[in-house]
Symmetry: C2
Subunit: 84 residues, 2 copies
């Protein structure tokens, strides 16, 4: 009987081990899926922030042009007033 019991417990041990492996496998598959979803969100956020940076840089260029325009206008009027 002892042999049978030993065999039985060995079998159960193997079953538990296999069950543990399958459990870990399921857990890891879920983790991979979560991480891949997170990566897609990060990719999307990064694209959005890069677009915002491009837009801000464009606005800066427009402001610089406006400042230059105003400065040259000023230099014309002030030279005008000096002459007048």
């Amino acid at each position: 009987l002892v042999g049978m019991e030993k065999e039985q417990s060995e079998y159960e041990e193997k079953q538990n081990k296999a069950e543990g492996l399958l459990q870990e496998l399921r857990h890891l598959k879920i983790k991979v899926e979560e991480l891949e979803n997170e990566r897609n969100q990060y990719e999307w956020k990064l694209k959005a922030t890069k677009a915002e940076i491009a837009q801000l840089q464009e606005q800066l260029a427009l402001k610089d042009a406006e400042i230059e325009r105003l400065q040259s206008q000023l230099s014309r009027t002030s030279s005008y007033t000096e002459v007048a």
Copy 2:
């Protein structure tokens, strides 16, 4: 003998299956590690782009102030020239 062979092939089948599971487990663990590294890089990149946005917004505010200053200076000089 047939029983023995059957048992033997069943055993081998189980071994292959267990080996397959372990292989998949190792593969998934590597994948999780890669995805976690990638996530850290994304987090870092996102922080850097958000800092850049804040900096560009600050520059925009300064340019707006400069434009306002120039416009008021211009309105003073042009009203001055009209009076003169």
